[in-house]
């Protein structure tokens, strides 16, 4: 009997052991880190800030980058692009503001989404960094400064494009519905963030961290924000601070800016970095290149040739033919492929759209893999932009004479004489306005600022109708069957429509919160 009891005892004891042993069901994930763990230390905080930059890279690596470039007077979509499929018809919609330019447009929805992912990462970092155990407070402030700079950068895109947007900060829970905050409030947040950044980032000329946001970049961006708000006094002060305290340099050879061999040069203030690693490439030449022949007669023509591509975007006639002094302006041949050549060395201008001039600035260099995978960086801010903005500010403040100095710096670098010498007189304020707009096209064409420049100066609709309306021209030649889509821009298009899925899923918004006219 005793042995039986032993057996029962043993068996039940085993079961009790299992029952009593509350093996923890906390299975800690082994292959990823979850939110609170990331900000434990400096390495984690730095890694999280790296992720914010990565989101900017993602935003600009393909067709979303066309927002700001097409639909302006400098670049347009080719007539073939709408036929490449529904997706590309949406891209064409960004250019001609037709029925595809709606709240369901893929690109503007994706742009909104990608910017907000960047903002969410920045918010997470701004919330988490103060709690991280970082020994040196200047490091922690610098990381905070970088996060705020990036948040300001994303919000600046959004508020210019969409107007009143939901303002989410580090305190907003992600599932909360957020109303459309008035643009003024968003700008106030942007300015706040940039001021903190200015005070806490590294100085570019002195710091070891190439590619990171710097004091100069923050000042340049802050100046641009003030300029957009028409706060010329503060803009002037910021630009002068930047020019005098930190100094700006212009490269002597304009073409070097875009040859892919001079990344992060002295003129650049903030670039979006790409490399030839598998995940870090951009595919923009494919959008700006043409499938017509090479730009140099007799050159081999394949996916490794600069200028080759899918014929989606091309330069407007104004940008490629009119605005440049083709003989003297060294920027012309660095910005535009004026001709394409067929196998016999003859120009193909007759092959409408694929044979016409294209923008050259995104061409791959010998270090890139192919037209779909390029490691070439994109400029966000550079010194020439600051000079032209400073000139604009001075002109708006009535100091037209003083505005000529920074303008001439840019002109001289391009091989042109001073403006007053070329014209034989000082221009009026109104003339200088127009001249500055054209100068921005010559200097910064295709770099992603044009739409914002036109909106800021109130010239979006007029200049687009004047220079981005190829159908009007071709119909007189080919008749009504001409395939170029009509330009439909109107005043409502100075604001992009709020994406439909935002209105549907944001609990504080409904379909009535859309921008007028959509």
């Amino acid at each position: 009997m005793k042995s039986f009891h032993q057996y029962i005892g043993a068996g039940l004891a085993g079961m009790m052991a299992l029952a009593g042993c509350t093996k923890s069901l906390n299975y800690t994930p082994e292959v990823f880190v979850a939110q609170p763990q990331v900000f434990k230390d400096q390495a984690g905080a730095t890694a999280a800030v790296t992720g914010i930059y990565a989101q900017l890279q993602t935003l600009k690596k393909s067709d979303y980058a066309l927002i700001g470039i097409v639909g302006t007077d400098e670049a347009r979509c080719t007539y073939q692009s709408q036929g490449y499929g529904d997706y590309w018809a949406n891209v064409t919609g960004l250019d001609v503001y037709d029925i595809k330019f709606s709240s369901q447009n893929y690109q503007l929805t994706g742009f909104w989404q990608d910017c907000y992912i960047g903002i969410a990462n920045a918010n997470a970092a701004i919330q988490g960094i103060p709690n991280a155990s970082i020994a040196d407070p200047s490091v922690s402030n610098r990381l905070l400064g970088e996060s705020k700079f990036m948040r300001a950068l994303f919000y600046f895109y959004l508020v210019q494009l969409y107007g009143d947007i939901p303002l989410r900060t580090e305190a907003t829970p992600f599932s909360a519905g957020v109303k459309r905050t008035p643009a003024d409030q968003v700008y106030a947040q942007i300015i706040d963030d940039l001021k903190f950044a200015m005070a806490n980032l590294w100085v570019k000329s002195k710091n070891p961290g190439i590619g990171r946001a710097s004091v100069e970049a923050a000042k340049a961006l802050l100046g641009k924000v003030y300029l957009t708000r028409k706060d010329y006094t503060n803009a002037k002060a910021t630009f002068e601070d930047l020019i005098n305290t930190d100094g700006l340099t212009l490269l002597t050879d304009y073409a070097q800016l875009f040859d892919g061999q001079h990344e992060n040069n002295a003129e650049s203030l903030f670039e979006i970095q790409y490399s030839t690693d598998a995940n870090n490439t951009q595919g923009l030449q494919n959008l700006f290149g043409s499938y017509a022949g090479p730009g140099i007669p007799g050159e081999a023509y394949n996916s490794h040739t600069p200028g080759a591509g899918g014929t989606v975007v091309m330069a407007t006639a104004y940008y490629s033919d009119t605005v440049f002094d083709k003989n003297n302006d060294k920027r012309y041949l660095a910005s535009i492929w004026p001709h394409r050549y067929d196998g016999n060395g003859n120009t193909m201008d007759w092959w409408v759209d694929p044979g016409l001039p294209t923008i050259k600035k995104y061409d791959i260099s010998s270090s890139d893999i192919d037209i779909y995978n390029s490691g070439k960086n994109l400029y966000y801010l550079r010194a020439a932009d600051v000079y032209l903005m400073y000139a604009e500010v001075l002109n708006e403040l009535g100091q037209t004479g003083a505005a000529l100095a920074p303008l001439n710096k840019v002109r001289n670098r391009a091989g042109l004489q001073n403006l007053e010498d070329a014209w034989g007189r000082t221009p009026t304020q109104t003339e200088l306005r127009t001249e500055l707009l054209d100068e921005r096209m010559r200097e910064l064409g295709g770099e992603g600022w044009r739409w914002f420049d036109l909106k800021r100066t109130g010239t979006l609709v007029s200049r687009v109708m004047a220079h981005n309306n190829p159908r009007a021209y071709y119909v007189t030649i080919n008749g009504n069957g001409d395939p170029h889509p009509a330009q439909n821009i109107s005043d409502k298009n100075s604001l992009y429509p709020i994406p439909l899925n935002e209105l549907q899923t944001n609990s504080a918004l409904s379909l009535t919160d859309q921008n007028p006219g959509y």
Binding site: F4, Y7, I8, A10, G11, L12, G14, M15, L18, A19, K23, Y27, P29, E30, V31, F32, V33, A34, Q35, V38, G44, A48, T50, G51, Y53, A54, Q55, Q57, G83, G85, I99, Y116, I117, G118, I119, A120, N121, N123, A124, I165, P166, R168, F174, S175, A176, V178, I210, G211, E263, N264, Q273, Y274, S275, A278, N279, N280, A300, N302, E502, N506
Partner: protein, 1004 residues
């Protein structure tokens, strides 16, 4: 041989020699070393033991009674009569034939005493078809279980659904339990030949013992174990030939020639004028074929084998002498695929042992080892072979596949799917070991304590290599992937079972605790730019670029307590109460545990005294069952409760990447919990005419709540969605199983089984305040299988109104403008069909004439519509399948200005204008929706049982030879694809085939 232990001959009674044989009543297998107690009046009891052949011989007087006992068998009393010269004593196994018992999870129950809905399949049923995969073997054999194949390629898996739809987003199929060990994931590494029975637990009361894993049903698999008795050896083999059964008939060379010329001319009449030379349309190789009188090349034949062999050899040895029962089996299977260079090979072994150490201890275990290799092929080979230009020659003058490279750029200008078929590598190798070890202690009578440890270890590797002369590998100079996965699943269970019987009362109580831990690891490497193709994927170090180098580790833990009580009163009122408490690591802190109770009752009317004699002579069985219970589904992604940071990189200096983290994607939800299913089931089992007819009907209703839905977050939050438990749905259904023996004479017998199932699933609640998420996901509709598309409205003809398609031409597809707004937008889509069957099932017929048997197994399904996009794509010229674009003969009837009475749109030469059209080839329209009703004859088998006279001469127990035809006929209006395809919107990547085989089974 005479073993005579202590035998005392008494002179008093007239002793005479008694001899005989002790055998198992069912199998007639002799029982060696059985104990015979001899009781006679006036003499002391004696004990004899049978010899190794079950024979006995001793002296005893008439009137002596013998009691024969044997472990595992019911003791039997036999009296010695005067005239019994030789006695054969038949003993019944205590557990009878295994099929008389049904496994109900942590225990067994006799079929008549079941209170819940369980279907059983025997080894004979499972092995009737030579399936490589268990799920194929059970398809259409039982009601309520829907099995769809994932393709015909050897080694393909299946998708299994028990009792309809159980979730909106998380259907991972039923839980498989093999010998008590829950295995999650693939069942395809278990050899069907090693399976003794399969019991499918369908309703909440049956499956509830598995609590949180039971929502999609539980399939209990019991592998073969040794049987009591002398060693038996069973050997079976078959050899077969597979022949292609291609449902697509493509245009020949002349038809293709006309099509291409018409298409290009129609698109661009200036460049491709009707009188343009052929050289403008065709390349030099095609021109040669044209000159040769439109020579047609058969690409399909080139990539397939006209007769692909398959063979299988299986041996099983069972030995149950005394206290140990042992079972070994080995299996080799090799199936060459219909497409060249494909196939499936399996080596499997199974070993199980049960040992009664003494009256208290019992030890047992089983190991199942499976090594299988699947050689596959890229899905593009079949697709490209179908759509290749029939004018293109397949091989060049050296006999190698014709490939043209542009030497200056290195790009392939002429691609040939033969290169991929012949030279690419696409292998999947799996090594699976399932093992379990258990110990049972019976400290007091009626109490059994059991502890078991089980493990499921899978180590699989997938290797892919595309050399530079294939379409997939030329642009990257070779492309390789090595993907290695390991998973380990360990289960520790402890249960105590107590049975108590007194008078009319019968009680069986089980209580237990289990702990399961699963760990998965994966390693994935992808590379490109290889210096040579000779080493294929084996030297990843030589890759010029590594495009992926990734590892993954994840796992989960489930910890549970379970209890069940079965109470029977007067053997005809049965009540079953089950409860299980599960804790899972997949859920947030506050929601880890759930309690899943269920109850079921059964009333055996047939045993009621009020069943009159007349009724009882007609009915042989009548039982009514009812059950209700709560079961759960814990199948959510294991990381759904966390907000994950993903890897991100940024090259700060423009060249070297710095790695970092980025948040985004799915936001974590720490409050996630189980999906809950309340299921009620009413069933009736009735049999008549001495079990010649039996019918089983089950009606069930499931209310499923807390369904997981990805709740879309506002894009401005930075996340796409988070998983929340919010939705609910309802599934109702009926399962019917009818078994009958319509004819039974000495020489001729006909048995049949017919099953029919049907279910209806509806979403009852979605998101708060919203009744629909999209057109295909809304309240009142099934959670999946809703086909939403544009409505096809014929073709545009000359002079039609083109407002809805301003850039269109006559011959384009016209879509109905449902909301009459003058344009075609996504608002013009509507529900055009449902992928849910109105009913499905199987029909099994068995005929016997003397020693010849014929079996016909058929399956059917009706009422479902399918989106036959692949067939449409093969009908429209230049559609999704690329720029080569041959079409089917039906597609040859395309619209031209002189051929306007047709449904095929005008051929689209540059793949530009039809593609973006709503209703165009990429999207489809109601044109591509077809009825998927079918009746399929799955197999016809003709078998012959070799007569006993012959087998005895060969010293065999039995021998059977058969011929079999698999998939001989399919009756359906569905074009092209197999309507049973689990993934109907994609073209099969493998053609259909029929198999003819001969086989042999013998037992020693």
């Amino acid at each position: 041989m005479l073993f005579c232990l202590g035998c005392i001959l008494q002179a008093r009674a007239q002793q005479r020699q008694v001899q005989g044989l002790v055998q198992d009543a069912k199998t007639h297998s002799p029982l060696p070393l059985a104990t015979i107690h001899i009781k006679a009046k006036g003499i002391p009891d004696a004990t004899k033991i049978t010899d190794s052949r079950g024979r006995f011989s001793f002296n005893a007087a008439p009137g002596t009674s013998l009691e024969v006992t044997y472990t595992g068998y019911k003791s039997i009393q036999v009296s010695i009569n005067d005239d019994s010269a030789s006695i054969t004593i038949l003993m019944d196994a205590v557990y009878g034939k295994l099929e008389d018992f049904v496994f109900i999870g942590y225990g067994k129950e006799k079929k008549p005493d079941l209170t819940s809905s369980i279907s059983s399949l025997s080894s004979k049923d499972i092995n009737e078809l030579p399936a490589t995969n268990l799920a194929s073997a059970i398809a259409s054999r039982t009601p309520g279980v829907e099995v769809h194949s994932n393709g015909y390629a050897p080694g393909s898996g299946n998708s299994v659904n028990v009792r309809g739809l159980n979730s909106i987003t998380r259907s991972e199929g039923p839980l498989y339990v093999v010998d008590g060990v829950a295995i999650t994931g693939d069942i395809r590494d278990l050899n069907p030949a090693d399976i003794e029975t399969i019991d499918i637990l369908k309703d909440a009361a049956a499956a509830g013992i598995y609590g949180s894993r039971a929502a999609a049903g539980v399939i209990l698999v019991t592998t073969k174990h040794g049987k009591a008795g002398l060693a038996t050896i069973d050997f079976s083999m078959y050899y077969g030939v597979q022949t292609p059964n291609n449902p697509y008939h493509m245009l020949d060379a002349k038809g293709y020639y006309d099509l291409k010329k018409f298409a290009f001319n129609d698109a661009d009449p200036v460049t491709f004028a009707p009188d343009s030379p052929d050289a403008k349309f065709f390349n030099p190789y095609e021109l040669k074929s044209i000159a040769n009188g439109f020579k047609t090349y058969d690409w399909f034949k080139a990539v397939t084998r006209s007769a692909a062999p398959m063979q299988n050899y299986s041996i099983g040895i069972s030995n149950g002498v005394g206290k140990n029962k042992v079972y070994f089996s080995g299996n080799y299977q090799d199936q060459k695929g219909i497409m060249i260079n494909t196939g499936f090979t399996r080596y499997a072994g199974h070993f199980s042992i049960e040992s009664d150490i003494n009256s208290i201890f019992k030890l047992g275990g089983a190991v199942n080892v499976d090594h299988n290799i699947t050689k596959g092929v890229s899905s593009s080979v079949y697709q490209q072979a179908l759509t290749q230009s029939p004018l293109m020659p397949i091989f060049d003058s050296t006999g190698a596949p014709l490939v043209i490279t542009d030497n200056s750029t290195g790009t392939l200008t002429i691609r040939n799917p033969m290169t991929s078929a012949l030279y690419s590598v696409n292998n999947y190798t799996a090594n699976r070991t399932m093992a379990n070890l258990y110990m049972e202690i019976t400290p007091v009578r009626n109490l059994v304590l059991r502890s078991s440890i089980g493990a499921d270890l899978l180590n699989a590797e997938s290797d892919v290599y595309y050399p530079r002369n294939t379409g997939e590998g030329f642009s990257t100079n070779g492309s390789a992937e090595v993907y290695n996965t390991k998973s380990t699943d360990v289960l520790w269970e402890n249960t105590a079972t107590y049975t108590w019987t007194k008078g009319d009362h019968d009680l069986n109580v089980v209580a237990g605790a289990t702990y399961e831990r699963r760990e998965n690891t994966a390693m994935d490497m992808k590379g490109q730019q290889f210096p040579t193709d000779l080493l294929t994927f084996k030297n990843m170090g030589s890759a010029g670029i590594k495009t992926q180098d990734n590892t993954n580790y994840d796992g989960w833990i489930v910890q549970s307590y379970l209890a069940r009580a079965i109470y029977k009163f007067k053997k005809r009122y049965i009540v079953n109460l089950t409860g299980r408490r599960d804790g899972s690591s997949r859920f947030g802190q506050d929601n880890r545990y759930g309690f899943f109770p269920s109850a079921s009752v059964a009333w055996r009317l047939i045993d009621e005294p009020f069943m009159g004699f007349k009724l009882k002579s007609f009915l042989s069985d009548w039982k009514i069952r009812a059950s209700y219970g709560l079961i759960g589904n814990q199948n959510l992604p294991y990381d759904a409760i966390y907000t994950r940071y993903n890897n991100a990189q940024y090259p700060f200096n423009g060249s070297n990447a710095t790695s970092g983290y980025q948040v985004g994607g799915t936001a974590g939800n720490p409050t996630l919990e189980w999906e809950r299913q309340h299921q009620s089931n009413i069933g009736m089992d009735i049999a008549a005419l001495n079990n010649r007819v039996s019918l089983s009907v089950d009606v069930y209703n499931k209310n499923i709540t807390s369904l997981l839905l990805p709740f879309n977050l506002a894009p401005s939050s930075g996340f796409y969605n988070e998983q929340i438990n919010v939705a609910s749905m309802n599934t109702k259904g009926v399962d019917i199983n009818l078994q009958a023996t319509p004819v039974k004479t000495r020489n001729f017998e006909w048995q049949m089984t017919f099953n029919w199932s049907r279910y209806k699933s509806r979403i009852t609640h979605l998101l708060p305040g919203r009744d629909s998420v999209s057109l295909s996901l809304r309240v009142g509709q099934p959670p999946s299988g809703v086909l939403v598309n544009y409505v096809y409205d014929g073709l545009y003809q000359q002079g039609d109104d083109f407002t809805l398609n301003p850039n269109g031409k006559p011959g384009d597809i016209r879509i109905k403008d449902l909301n009459h707004d003058g344009k075609i937008t996504p608002q013009d889509q509507t529900i055009v069909g449902y992928n849910i069957p109105g009913g499905w099932g199987g029909f099994w017929n068995w005929f016997r004439y003397k020693r010849v048997t014929m079996t016909v197994l058929a399956s059917y399904e009706y009422g479902q519509q399918l989106n036959n996009l692949p067939y449409t794509n093969l009908t429209y010229y230049n559609s999704w399948f690329g720029n080569i674009g041959n079409v089917t003969k039906e597609g040859g009837n395309y619209w031209t200005p002189t051929n306007t009475h047709t449904n095929i749109p005008r051929p689209n030469a540059f793949a530009t204008s039809l593609k973006p059209l709503p209703g165009g080839p990429d999207q489809g329209s109601s044109y591509s929706i077809q009825k998927g009703d079918y009746i399929r004859i799955k197999s016809i088998t003709l078998a012959y049982d070799i007569p006993g006279v012959v087998t005895q001469k060969m010293k065999l127990r039995n021998m059977n030879v058969y011929v079999q035809a698999l998939e001989p006929f399919l009756f359906t209006k569905y074009k092209g694809l197999d309507p049973d395809n689990g993934n109907p919107t994609q073209l099969e990547n493998y053609p259909r085939y029929r198999t003819f085989l001969v086989g042999l089974k013998l037992g020693l």
